[in-house]
Symmetry: C2
Subunit: 190 residues, 2 copies
DNA sequence: TACCTAAACTAACGATTGTTAGTTTTTATT
DNA sequence: AATAAAAACTAACAATCGTTAGTTTAGGTA
C-alpha cells in the first residue's frame, strides 16, 4: 500500500491553486491553512516556510522542462520536428499542472535562494530553443525571419497554455499539440 | 506653459514600474514612496489609495484596447487586414507602456470595485477578436482550424509583448508589427 | 495497556501593512 | 513681503503578516 500523496504534497498542490488565483504574495499562510481545513501553525509540521512551497512548485517544473528540452536537443530530427516535440512538451507538462505553471510564469521573481538557479535554467532553455530555430533557418526548413521574434512568438503561446487549458478539458492533449503545431508552424492564412 | 506630468501621473508611472518588477501585492506604499524620494504618507496628498493606483493603470489601458478594437471592427477591411491592425494596436500600446501592461496582464485580479468592469471589457475584446477570425474562415481567407485556438495563440503572443519589448529597443514599432504579423499569419515553415 | 510519533492545536512574537490626523515646509501669486 | 495652496513631514493606528514555542490529540505498534 503506497501512500498516494504525502501531506506536504497536498499542501503544495493546494497552495499552487491559491497562487494561481491571487499570486504568491497575496496568499497568506492563513488562507492556505483554511483551504486545508487546519490552522496556519499546523502547516509548519510539513513545510519549513512559505518560500519552501514556492521553490517546490517552481523548481520541479523548471527542471522538468529542462529535461524535456535536453531530450529534444539530443534527438536526431529535423528542426521542424524538434519544434513539434517542444510544443508537445509544453502541452504535456501544462496539462498535468496548470496551477503550478502559473507560479512558474508569474511568481518566479519571489524566489529567494533559488532565483539564480531558476534564471539559469530559463536562460539555457531559451538559448536551446533559439539554436533549434537558427539551425532550421540554415537548413532552409524555416523562413529566414528574425529567429528571436519566432522564438518569442512560439514561447509566448506555449507559456500561456496554463491559462487556457482549464477551459478546454474536452480537447485531448495530443490533438491540441498537433493543432497548435500546425498553427504555429504553418500559419493561419490560406 | 503646460505641465507635462502631474504628480499623480508620476506616482502612477513609478508604481507601474514597481508593479512590473514585483507584482501589486508585493509592492508596499513605503517602497513606492522611497522610489519617489518621499515618505509613504505624502503619497496620499495625490492618490486616494493603493487600489486607486492599480485602477488608474489597468482601466485606462483596457479602455485603450477597447477603443482600438472598435475602430478595427468598424473598418471595412478583409479579415486578415483586420488581424494585422490588431497586431499593430498591441505593438503600439505595449511599446508606449510596457510597465502598465504587466499590471493589466498579471494584477487584474487585485482590482476591487472595477474588477467586473475590467472583465467585461476583456471578454468583449476576446469575442470581437473571435468574430473576426470566424469571418475570415467563412470568407475562405483563414484556414479552417479551430478559431479559438487561433485566437489563443495570437493573443498569447500579443499579450506577452510587454515582456519582450524592453529588450528590443532597437527595432522600430512598425517593423516589429509587420514582422510579427507575417509570422502569426503565414507561419514559419518554408 | 503502554508508548511513540505524526499532526493537530492555542497563544503569542515582532515586523510590516495601508492609512489617517495633525503639523510644517515649500512654492507660486499677489 | 504677505498670503494661500500644494506637498511634504512626524507620529501613530489597528490589522495582518510569517513564524515559533509549547501543548494536546489521534492512530498505530510494541
Amino acid at each position: 500500500m503506497r501512500k498516494l500523496e504525502t501531506r506536504k504534497e497536498e499542501i503544495v498542490r493546494v497552495a499552487a491553486q491559491l497562487f494561481k488565483e491571487k499570486g504568491y504574495s497575496a496568499v497568506t499562510m492563513r488562507d492556505l491553512a483554511a483551504e486545508m481545513g487546519i490552522k496556519a501553525a499546523s502547516l509548519y509540521n510539513h513545510i519549513t516556510s512559505k518560500q519552501d512551497i514556492l521553490q517546490t512548485i517552481i523548481i520541479s517544473l523548471a527542471e522538468e522542462f529542462t529535461e524535456g528540452m535536453n531530450k529534444v536537443i539530443r534527438s536526431e530530427k529535423s528542426s521542424i520536428e524538434k519544434l513539434k516535440k517542444i510544443v508537445q512538451l509544453h502541452v504535456t507538462i501544462a496539462s498535468a499542472n496548470t496551477n503550478g505553471m502559473a507560479s512558474l510564469n508569474t511568481d518566479w521573481m519571489h524566489l529567494e535562494d533559488q532565483l539564480e538557479y531558476y534564471l539559469k535554467l530559463r536562460n539555457d532553455y531559451e538559448q536551446n530553443f533559439l539554436v533549434i530555430i537558427k539551425e532550421g533557418v540554415k537548413n532552409l526548413e524555416i523562413k529566414s525571419k528574425n529567429p528571436e521574434v519566432i522564438m518569442f512568438s512560439m514561447l509566448s503561446t506555449l507559456r500561456s497554455l496554463y491559462l487556457w487549458l482549464p477551459n478546454k478539458e474536452d480537447v485531448s492533449s495530443s490533438d491540441l499539440a498537433l493543432h497548435l503545431s500546425e498553427i504555429l508552424i504553418e500559419g493561419i492564412n490560406k
